[in-house]
């Protein structure tokens, strides 16, 4: 079955404030955040990235900035501007830093520096702390000459196997920062500046993660034609070959020999991404006419639907071939769902094999572990419970805020 989403009734709850997180993280944690922030009250912070919406970085900053402001810091969020050609180059840079081939053209580097210069003239960069997100704005650090503020580079991507010629171009800029932040130890490059571990985080009170009434979950499943009485396997991710949606279908078929289950592949809209559309076609071809495979091409604002689909699932899958951090795993674990996921990128930080989920390396492995969990619901439930605790202790937005506060306090200490 292939559906586009019907929308849920409009609901715009007020933005959560710090006190709202106490029920989940405890009053003590919240008090500690306030105590740490006290030493930074009035300090000015500028966050710089390249987009206000879309993508994990914007999603985190959207919540991080107001909560840090509530803690008494003066936080500004600036977006780097550049034309189509610049962003085509930075996309190639992004892919090359993930290890894909890169054809280094001198004019690309020139344009990269030229756009950096234009933004440097436009964005005030003299706040106490300047946090630059990802490689696109990395060269803004040239603006620090003559300033006494602290500069931080937050790298959200896996730098473990970068294209060397490109990395040699970027590295001198990175080395001018006071600190660098990585999502996993394996993503680092042995930099001479301090490298800190900053896990990405999910907001437990966002529409994508907040608790839902069982009736809401049920109604979403029913509207998509999913039978809540039979096991539901779900993978939430955009239609991208690196997420291996066809591999997920193959695994499901192997499971179907033993279990009467359904498969949900829920992903972002493919209309603005030619490759995504092609992959969606491949997925539809692979699914054929099986009425128990639900391919849901959802618009980007379908957070509540995604939330309900995850909550309504028996097992959540993330069978990626390559992955940055894979926060959809944390989203599922927060909902106490047993997860079967590939041991790639940041997933092993979230899924401790046989403890907070099951790690796999192949279609066959995924199919076997799904069958195992369907046959052992008690064990699956325990994985979900452990996973919930693991996320609660490591991957929430409040942890991210705490890490920033600690970092700023460290940076204020005399070197």
């Amino acid at each position: 079955m292939d559906l586009t989403t019907p929308s849920l009734p409009e609901e715009t709850p007020r933005l959560p404030q710090l006190d709202d997180y106490a029920a989940l993280i405890g009053a003590a944690e919240l008090q500690e955040l306030r105590q740490l922030a006290h030493g930074l009250c009035g300090r000015r912070v500028t966050m710089v990235n390249t987009t206000a919406s879309g993508g994990g970085v914007a999603e985190i900053l959207n919540r991080l900035v107001p909560l840090m402001q509530e803690l008494g810091l003066s936080v500004r969020w600036e977006m780097m501007k550049g034309g189509e050609e610049f962003f085509a180059i930075t996309k190639a840079i992004h892919n090359a830093l993930h290890g894909l081939p890169f054809e280094a053209r001198p004019e690309w580097f020139e344009l990269f520096l030229q756009v950096t210069e234009q933004n440097r003239a436009r964005i005030p960069l003299d706040d106490d702390f300047v946090v630059i997100h990802d490689p696109q704005p990395v060269a803004l650090v040239q603006a620090r000459d003559g300033l006494k503020n602290r500069w931080v580079w937050r790298c959200h991507i896996d730098l473990s196997r970068p294209n060397i010629s490109l990395w040699n171009f970027l590295r001198p800029f990175v080395e001018r920062y006071d600190a660098s932040l990585f999502s996993a130890p394996a993503f680092t490059q042995g930099l001479p500046i301090p490298q800190y571990l900053f896990y990405p985080a999910i907001d437990p009170l966002s529409d994508k993660n907040r608790p839902l009434e069982p009736e809401v979950v049920q109604s979403v499943l029913e509207r998509f034609g999913i039978d809540p009485k039979r096991p539901v396997l779900t993978q939430v991710s955009r239609f991208d070959r690196l997420k291996d949606p066809v591999g997920v279908i193959q695994a499901y078929r192997k499971v179907r020999k033993y279990e009467d289950c359904q498969l949900v592949l829920a992903g972002g809209s493919a209309t603005d991404d030619p490759e995504g559309e092609a992959v969606l076609g491949e997925v539809r071809d692979a699914a054929g006419i099986d009425p128990d495979i639900h391919i849901l091409s959802l618009p980007p604002w379908s957070h509540l639907e995604i939330n309900a689909l995850q909550r309504g699932s028996t097992i959540v899958l993330q069978k990626s071939l390559r992955e940055g951090f894979g926060l959809t795993v944390s989203e599922a674990l927060l909902k106490k769902k047993p997860v079967v996921a590939s041991a790639v990128g940041g997933i092993p930080s979230q899924v401790i094999h046989k403890t907070t989920g099951m790690l796999v390396h192949s279609v066959e492995g995924a199919a076997y572990q799904i069958r195992f969990l369907l046959s052992n619901p008690g064990f699956a439930r325990q994985l979900g419970e452990n996973g919930y605790e693991h996320v609660k202790e490591n991957f929430l937005l409040t942890h991210n805020i705490k890490r920033y506060l600690l970092l700023f306090l460290i940076l204020l200490q005399p070197s």
Partner: protein
Amino acid sequence: MIQAAEPFQFVAASYLIRIRTERAWTLAELAAHLTSVPPSSISYHTIQSLESHHYTSFSNDFAQWVAAACNETLLGEELGAIDLRDFVALEDLRRTLVETLASYLGRNPHSADRPGFEPFFFCEANEFALPTEIQATNLEELSKGIQQLSLQSLHYHFINSRIRLQLKTNDFSHWIARNLGLPVLAEDLNRVDFYTNTLEGVRAEIIEMIDPWI
């Protein structure tokens, strides 16, 4: 109820993890780095890791990596069995880790250079410990304060404290013995097993032990 002359000062502890540049692909590399990384890194992978290993097989990162990434389960058990309660100095702990590894590699030389599935990344923790507004002058207040601690702060007072105090005890037992003159309770608390418990489990057991004395 006995009142202490000197109050117990609760602390809010937080940690930021720094990723070091040393990494080990083999047991030989692990052994080499173990001798040279700073004590803070030894502490992070053994004492600090107890905070996050409450549901993994081994209580320290070295044992976990050796078993999971190198498939050297015997060595994993040997490293995992090193009991932090026996140490008050990180250099002694380092020496024991190095000797355990050297002894194993002496018996199994072929294991030294076989690469693991993934490397071991050395890290260390920057600690921030700030006094809170909460103090205790008797057991009831101590129990209440412990119930309000974050897990990191509980870890700071109950586990990290062993190295800080340079005594084979924890902050709570130390204060109870010195200020309330209750050595039996102090000793009982010190026997709470932080290896086989989650930190929440440790907290519950501590409270359960203190409450009958109130």
